[in-house]
Amino acid sequence: MRFRPRNVRSRLTLWYVLVLAGLLALYAGVASLFLFLSLREEFDHNLLQDVETVEGMLEKEPNGQVSLHANHPEIGEPRIGHFIEVWSPQGSLLYRSAVLQGQTLGGPPGPEEGLHDPTPATTQLPNGTRVRLASSVYHVEDQRVVLRVAYSEERLWREFGEFGEVLLLGFPIAVLLAGFGGYALARKALSPIDSMATQATKISAERLGDRLSIENSQDELGKLGTVFNDMLGRLQAAFDQLRRFTADASHELRTPLTAIRSVGEVALQDQRSPADYRDVIGSMLEEVDRLTRLSESLLALSRADAGHVQLQREYISLLRLAKEGSSVVEVLAEEKRQQIEIEGDADLHVFVDRLILRQAIVNLLDNAIKYSPAGSRILVEVQSGGDKQVFLEVVDQGPGIPNEHQPYVFDRFYRVDKARTREWGGTGLGLSITRWAVEAHGGEITLKSEEGHGSTFRVSLPVAKYSFTSQSKGGSQ
């Protein structure tokens, strides 16, 4: 099982410490290496200098041995860690420092030893002491000898070790400090989240108007807060819409119920002629019809909401569909001496459920006819909107829709003018159904309107590639 700290703060700190420790270790390693190399270089440099000095001190003894000139006390025999060996090329030992105590610095020399530039190398004495050794070939009077000078590496390692100790001691302290610092930093950075969470828990369905306070909307947390606030805004809008819907729906249901009830009650108060009763019942039935239509529209919408409606799609020219829709309601326009003009490219096709989309178009036209003055002109225009979309616009010359109502006209039961609803008939669901119909086909409906200057409803739908095979299939049904 992996270790996983409970909160983000600790996780952040842990990561921070781990990364920092890794980096520190790497840094310490590289620094030590450089230090060691430079120490050794200095060490070697001294060694090579000593080789030269010792060369000058060599003297030949009459018995064939070699000895050191005693006038150089500074590198005299007793110096610890300073070893000298002199060999004849034939392999006989000519001189050996006493401090070596009989140990050899590597036995008789090979034929090549000391011929090249004397590069010091590390070797080990039989007693385990590590030494730095340089060799050179030298002539003492006429005799060729191989000179070996070695330093014990003890000093080198000691100096290096001291440095290492400092590093090792500092490392945990640095990491510990970084840990505390990181924790404090993470805590500070995350504290807005805590306060946001506290605020968010206080926001409920009843208090959706509250928003999170944002200190800096530009930083990451500020952006998160903004996103959250936007979401709250949408939620609030949805709740408001639902509230309005409930209120409006109960109004729409109560109105016909009230009518039925009062018409019935009043009719029963006194004796009437059969014709009168017939009239009363007929009037009640009209309200029933209204309620029936209302419940069916609501049902249609709720089925649509639940995604239970299957679209019977076919390829159809949008212009043709507009004409079909217009043919249903054109008599209404004729009655008001209104002119419905349909323009556009008949080759623009859509792949849609004909009945459902026609209903949407009929609804839009019905609205336009209802709200436009007698004798006005209603324009239906089908246009291409690039490769992907096709537009259908219904433009009327009505009174327009005030700005404050525009966002809601597609809401269920929303009425711009609540008082005039009954004389117009209709359920107050027409535009909601229209919007659903358009959106179910992957389209979009927008309203552009200015008070006093008419309204334009624009439906945009994905364009269908004109296809002969599917066209003939669709047409043969």
Binding site: G282, S283, E296, L299, A300, H308, V331, Q359, N363, G425
Partner: protein
């Protein structure tokens, strides 16, 4: 030339007393003999024991579900036509009903004229009459040539007006509801489409052409229900 009605027996399986009573009265007025069963069990028993020409079956019944009654009925090989009444509008319900052997369905709340029309259609089945010459009093329609005349005078009708008059004439002396007109004349299945005003305009125009020039009116509005084409009497 209405079919001989007196001997048609109709079983109504419906638990809602008011609806059952209305159905009984409405059907009896049309000279059907009506038996009402208030539960599925009873309906099931009756349909086994007696002979009916048509069963009107509510789907939501206490005791035995309407669909169960229907499928048992069909399993026993009884071919009585069944007209389903359902408050459940879901398409799956309809499909299931038709699968189990129902002949037709109506969604509640239905318009009574429509129920009558469906009942007539079921009972007339087998001899579907698609007469090409229709007649009521001095009104004549030739569906083949799409000509309409009244008292020998040619009536200038638009296509929609012709279809509307034809539908009314095919159902002469029967009240035709707005739903029926929407469905069969405007081919609009969704009642959400705002067709009422459209219908009113068309009926008015039809009146102007068919009735106004003549002293006897044939097109009548039955307030709250629909329209009927008949000689006033």
């Amino acid at each position: 030339m209405q079919e001989a009605k007196s001997h048609w027996r109709v079983l109504v399986v419906e638990d809602e007393a008011k609806v059952a009573r209305a159905l009984r009265e409405g059907l009896e007025r049309e000279k059907y003999e009506v038996v009402v069963a208030p539960t599925g069990e009873e309906g099931f028993f009756l349909v086994n024991a007696e002979e009916f020409d048509l069963v009107i079956l509510d789907l939501m019944l206490p005791g035995r579900d309407g669909l169960q009654v229907l499928s048992t009925l069909r399993k026993r090989g009884l071919q009585t036509p069944v007209l389903i009444l359902t408050a459940r509008d879901a398409i799956e319900d309809r499909v299931e009903g038709l699968d189990k052997g129902a002949d037709d369905y109506l969604v509640k709340p239905f318009a009574f004229p429509e129920l009558l029309a469906r009942v007539r259609a079921r009972l007339r089945r087998g001899r579907t009459e698609q007469a090409l010459l229709l007649k009521l009093a001095d009104l004549e329609m030739d569906v083949a040539t799409r000509k309409a005349r009244r008292r020998g005078q040619h009536l200038e009708l638009t296509a929609r007006e012709f279809e509307l008059l034809e539908y009314l004439l095919r159902h002469k002396e029967q009240v035709v509801s707005r739903e029926m007109l929407a469905r069969y004349v405007w081919k609009e299945s969704a009642r959400a489409t705002p067709l009422d005003n459209v219908m009113d305009v068309h009926i008015n125009r039809l009146r102007r052409k068919v009735d106004e020039p003549f002293d006897r009116k044939l097109i009548h509005t039955v307030r709250g229900v629909g329209f009927v084409l008949r000689e006033e009497g």
